[in-house]
Structure formats: C-alpha cells, structure tokens
C-alpha cells in the first residue's frame, strides 16, 4: 500500500486539469506546486543536513533571473569597453542554464558559508539573499532593476511539426507536476543513499560524524549544490509561468513561506514539504475567500503558523505517522485481546 500511494497521489493530481475548469484554482495549484518544489529543495538543507538556511529564495531568484535573461538575451558592459552579450535562446536551454548557474552559485556559497554554523549561518544566509536582491535591484543594465524584465517567453517544446506550448494553464500544470515528481525522486534518491545517510549523521551530531571520518564539508556542499539547482529550476519554472521577474522575487517573505512549508510539514521527511506546502499554499487563498479584512487574514495566518509549530513541533507528517502507528498498535492489541478471549471460550 505504502509503496504505491505516492504514485496514486500523482495519478490523482494528473487528472485535475481534466475536471477543474476554474483557472483561478489551477493557478493556485500551480504556484503552490512551484513553491513546493522549492520547499523540497530547502528540506534537503534544512531537514536532512540540519542547516538553517534563510537565504534559499536567493537560489530561486537567481534561477528565475538566469532563465529570463538567457531567454530574452542581454548585453552588459562589464568594463567601459568590454561588452558581454547573448542573443535570446530557446526556453528549454534557458532553464538548463538556470539549473547549472544556480548549482555553481550553490557550490561557491556552500564552500564559503559552511565555515560557520547555527545562528551565524542563519545570518549569513539572510545576508547573502539580501545582497543578491540589492544587486538585482541596482545593476540596471543587466536586470532592469525595479523596471522588471517582462514579456518573458513561455516554454515551447517541439520536434518538427509537433510543438507543445506551455503557455496555458493545463499544459503548465503537467509540466509543473512532472518537474515536481522529478525533484522528489532526486531528493529521495539522495537521501536514501550513502551520501544521504552521511548528511543525516552530521545533522544529528556533527562532531561525532567527523570523528567517524565523514567529510562534513563535502556533504554539506553536495547538499547545497543539489538543493540550489532544484530551487533554481523552480525559479526558472516560475519565471516562465508568471512571465515577469523583478527584484521582489528575493523578498524575505518568500523564504519564510518555504521555511514554513518545510517545518510545519515535517522537516527531514520526504512528504513534509508537500503537506506543508499544500496547507500553507492553500490557506492564504481560503482566507482571501472569507469576508475578513486583509490585515486580519495575515493575523490568522500568523496564528495558524504558531499553533502548528507549537502543537506539532516535529511537523504534520511525523504527527500523523505517530497517530497511525499508535492506532495500529491499539488495533493490534485489540485483536490479540479479542482473539485470546475467543480462545478462552
């Protein structure tokens, strides 16, 4: 049962565009899905290696900008006489570039930031995201700054006469679903491999892991690279869906959303970011549908956050797992009891 449930879930989701005619709901599902992909990648850092990265949105944004710039083409003067330019490239190539660039950035950041841990690392990660935001804001020649890069093309894949354009929602929903499944599989493979076990070891007790000979920096950097690349891919998807990108993509509130999804869902579990993502992606829209003032909507959101973190500190998924397990145990106990009673008869 457990082995096939994820696939059943995916199959169920795949049917959604067939019956959901309301494009607003599809839109909410698509944006939630993209953030869930980013949350899954954050889970790798936050949940499995235990590093509290609050700068994750930087990878998301760098992926978004890279993909946008490669698909639109750009021209910059890096020195008064030297110009670097690129003509517009097909979108699928742009997305690949985004993944590679973000991975490289992840590598560099990983190597540099993991000299510190804990609360210091939190601050470094926030600072990194802020600096990236300010660069995107001020380097007008490259990014257009606050004037935004717009008219970003949508993804089209084609062979000869067959082209699929991922402009409209139903097609994009499938694209998002496929990328989500791919990301999930990558994360799952990594986590269940030797590298993954090393990461969990260093999360639990770094000094002990080191003493057993685990190269901590290497695994941390590996986690960062994979995490960054997936987040960059999510950012690229986002930018070809919304088709405009501006420095607001680096807003701290997006990181907060991703962290909430991971922690309330259950960090260190594969299903955690998905459940957390569903809850905190849908909740703001449900609140919007209720007839309450926007400030109160936010307040309810905040209260809900605190409540879940308070009462289910490990997250929703582990809590449900425990409830099911104790349910099973109770059920098993009951069976034994009734069986023994039957025998006594």
């Amino acid at each position: 049962m457990t082995r096939f449930t994820p696939w059943l879930f995916v199959a169920a989701l795949a049917t959604v565009p067939l019956w959901m005619n309301d494009y607003y709901y599809l839109h909410v599902l698509i944006t939630t899905g993209i953030f869930i992909i980013a949350a899954m990648s954050l889970n790798l850092l936050l949940g499995y290696t235990g590093q509290l990265s609050l700068g994750h949105v930087a990878f998301f944004g760098i992926g978004a900008y890279t993909s946008a710039l490669v698909s639109l083409g750009f021209k910059v003067h890096i020195a008064p006489d030297t110009v670097v330019s690129l003509s517009p490239k097909p979108v699928w190539f742009a997305i690949l570039c985004a993944i590679v660039v973000t991975g490289i950035v992840g590598y560099s950041i990983g190597k540099l930031s993991f000299r510190v841990r804990g609360a210091y690392f939190v601050i470094v990660s926030i600072s990194f995201a802020e600096v990236v935001r300010l660069v995107a804001l001020n380097w007008l020649e490259l990014t257009q700054g606050p004037m935004a890069l717009n008219s970003i093309p949508a993804l089209t894949l084609g062979f000869g006469d067959y082209t699929i354009s991922f402009l409209r929602k139903p097609q994009f929903f499938y694209l998002m679903l496929v990328m989500a499944v791919v990301s999930y599989l990558i994360v799952a493979r990594l986590v269940n491999s030797r590298a993954g076990r090393a990461m969990i070891a260093l999360r639990e007790n770094e000094s002990l892991a080191m003493s057993v000979g685990i190269d901590v920096t290497r695994y941390l950097v590996l986690a960062t690279v994979v995490s960054a690349a997936i987040a960059g891919m999510a950012g690229a998807l986002y930018t070809h869906y919304i088709r405009i990108v501006d420095p607001n993509i680096f807003l701290f509130i997006y990181t907060v959303t991703m962290v909430i999804m991971v922690v309330t869902g259950g960090k260190g579990t594969l299903a955690g970011p998905i459940v957390g993502g569903v809850v905190f992606g849908i909740v703001p829209e449900v609140l919007r549908g209720m007839k309450i003032v926007p400030e109160v909507q936010w307040i309810v959101y905040g209260v809900l956050m605190i409540a879940i973190v308070y009462f289910l500190p490990e997250g929703i998924v582990p809590a449900v797992q425990r409830a099911l397990a104790s349910g099973r145990r109770a059920f098993a106990g009951l069976t034994i009891l009734t069986e023994s009673k039957a025998e006594e008869k």
Binding site: A119, I306, Y310
Partner: protein, 290 residues
C-alpha cells in the same frame, strides 16, 4: 572637506542609535540564541506608544519615553512567557518560526489599529539645527544620541555589575550548573527577553519623533540590528556598541563616496565579510562554532 565632516557627524549620531538597537538584540539573539524576529516589532511598538501617549493623550514627551520603555519590557515579558517558555529546549528553527508568526501578527495588528498611513510625533526641540562649523545636526538627534549612550551605559552596568546581570551571564553560559546554584532559570529567560525588548522599544520611542511612524518601520531596523550583533559578536554589549558605530560609518561613507543605492547593502556585505574572515565577530570571546 565639508562634505566629509557632515558625513562623519551623521555617522556618529547614527552609530548611537544602531548601537542601541544592537545591544537589545545581542542579549536575546546572542545570549538566548533566539532568532528574534519580533525585535523590529518592539521597535515599532515603542514608536507607536510614543505617538499614542504624546499625540493622542497629550502626555509629557520625556515621561512618555519612560512609559514606552516600560511597556516594551512588559510586551517582551508577555511574548517570552506565552510563546517561548515552552520552547526552551526546542530547535532553533521552531522558535524562529514562532517568532516569525509573532512578527506577522504584530505588524498587521499595528496596521489594523493605526492604518498604514505614516504618523509623526512632534518633538519639543527647536526645528533649527545645531550648527557645528560646516556641519549641522538636529537637536532631536542630539537628544537621541545622548539618551542612547545613557541606555547603553546602563545596560553595561546591569550586565556586569548587578546580581541580575551575573545571573543572566551564568544562565547562558551553563544553564544546568546555574540551576544547581539556585538561579531561577525561567525568570532569567523572561527578564532577559524583557530587557532586550525594552531596549528595542526605547530605540523606537527615541527615533519615532526623528522619522515617521508606520507599521513597516521595524523591518529595516531589525535588519540593521542583526548586522550590528554579528559585527560585534553575539552576546557582547561593548561589541554591539562598537559594531553599531562601525555599521553607521560603513553606511554613511559608503553611501557618500561609493554609491547611495547600495547603502543598505553595506551592512550585509560587512556581515558576510566578517563571518567569513572572523566568524566570532570583532569582539566576542572565542566561541565554539558548531
């Protein structure tokens, strides 16, 4: 040359306020290890208190400051008791998320009560500035600077020369031994958070009349406060003080001579540089990392 003098004067005055913001946070973040996202909101709370007391209720300007600080301590204590007390042994990210939730609630509550329109607090000082040669500064800012220094000195005295301060330092150095020595740990936690919050409220109450009061004012202040804490070393009051001035100088001279658009980036760039080169900050004692 004149421009440089003005920049330097600006930096000195700004440094005092950054230092004040930083020492409140260094107590909470540095000692309690709570990533306190409500610090900015306590700053805003202090400013709104001043507004309510001075502009709506007509209280005396200086008495209102004291009242705002006291209320800030109260709010801090409440936050600690209600939200943080059960999370003392929890992960850093659990407390962090709870603080983020509290931040969202406080900021939107402020907007709900006062609306997003900026409010101003009239200061009793003359609006003509104090002129020092080619540079000038407003009297209100001079007052803020002086009070900030007094508060910083007071906090230093509290931490290092009183019994409470000693108890605080002991608790955060080694909680279990402190408990064995008879220190009431929960009271110390609450007191530390309350003191840190009251300092943030003080900064807000002082700066409210200098700037304007609006619900989002705390966000930028909090960002600067974190920068100051990292610069100075977590948990070090003298460190935060000096860190405050370092940040102010970096910003003021950076904006003046390099680029004003990147002014607020200075803080973050400094943080990254410091953390890469000297992770413990400029002044903290050697701390085990990891």
């Amino acid at each position: 040359m004149n421009q440089l003098l003005q920049h330097l004067l600006n930096a000195v005055i700004l440094g005092g306020t950054y230092a004040l913001l930083g020492i409140g946070l260094t107590l909470i973040f540095g000692i309690m290890r709570v990533v306190n996202f409500t610090h900015g909101e306590l700053y805003a709370f202090g400013a709104y208190c001043m507004y309510a007391l001075v502009m709506r209720l007509g209280f005396d300007f200086f008495a209102s400051l004291l009242l705002a600080v006291a209320l800030g301590a109260l709010v801090g204590a409440v936050i600690e008791l209600v939200l943080l007390s059960r999370l003392r042994r929890a992960d850093i990210d659990t407390t962090m998320l709870v603080m983020i939730g509290a931040w969202i609630i406080m900021q939107n509550a402020e907007q709900l009560i006062w609306s997003g329109v900026a409010l101003s607090i009239t200061s009793p000082f003359p609006s003509n500035p104090l002129v020092l040669g080619p540079a000038s500064v407003s009297w209100t800012r001079v007052y803020v600077f002086v009070v900030a220094l007094l508060l910083i000195a007071g906090t230093y005295f509290l931490i290092n020369r009183t019994k409470l301060g000693k108890a605080m330092r002991a608790t955060f150095q080694d909680r279990d031994t402190a408990a064995l020595m008879g220190i009431r740990i929960d009271r110390i936690h609450t007191a530390t958070f309350a003191i840190g919050s009251s300092l943030a409220a003080a900064a807000g109450a002082l700066l409210g009349p200098v700037f304007v009061v609006q619900p989002t004012m705390g966000d930028l202040a909090a960002a600067k406060a974190f920068a100051v804490v990292i610069l100075g070393g977590m948990g070090s009051v003298p460190g935060a003080t000096i860190g405050g001035f370092v940040l102010a100088f970096a910003e003021e001279l950076g904006a003046g001579y390099i680029s004003s658009g990147y002014r607020d980036a200075m803080g973050f760039v400094l943080i990254i540089l410091i953390l890469l080169v000297r992770p413990t900050g400029l002044f903290a004692r050697k701390e085990r990392i990891g």
